[in-house]
Symmetry: C2
């Protein structure tokens, strides 16, 4: 659990938005065809206005930091928050 990757990942507003959206899927991704409890598929995040390749890179950064998990199902990749890592990170910030 390296805090450095996490803090670098959080140092970008788009990635923070993505994490925040994932916190309330039913609120932000009701348009998704797939059931929300599978996670949110990557394409949904293009709503941030950036290109597909850039969105993919942001998701990869969140994933590398351990802030989200991903799972491929068919042609889609579904993302979910990784609450364990997030909670652990928050705990380390208690003694910031």
């Amino acid at each position: 659990m390296e805090n450095d990757n996490i803090l670098k990942a959080l140092a970008h507003p788009v990635r923070r938005d993505m994490l925040a959206w994932l916190k309330e899927p039913e609120k932000h991704f009701s348009s998704q065809e797939h059931p929300l409890d599978m996670g949110i598929c990557a394409g949904q995040f293009e709503r941030c206005g950036l290109s597909q390749s850039t969105v993919s890179a942001h998701l990869a950064a969140l994933s590398a930091a351990g802030l989200v998990t991903s799972r491929r199902v068919g042609q889609w990749v579904f993302y979910k928050r990784n609450e364990e890592t997030i909670a652990a990170f928050r705990a380390t910030l208690s003694d910031l």
Copy 2:
């Protein structure tokens, strides 16, 4: 209270070290000539191994983020943690 500046400031290991050192001044800055409760003067942070100008820039980043306060006394500038901002930031991270 701009979270963006704070997270960007925290996204650098040297600046996190600086903040951590300031948490226990007696532990890390016992060599300082001035009383520790005035704060820690900028030069003390050059122990990180970076140049004076770079250290000054890092301190400026921390200050711009509101994570530290600074006070000039004579030719020195003393830095202290800004616990209010830090606590408020930690609170916002509760709903990360």
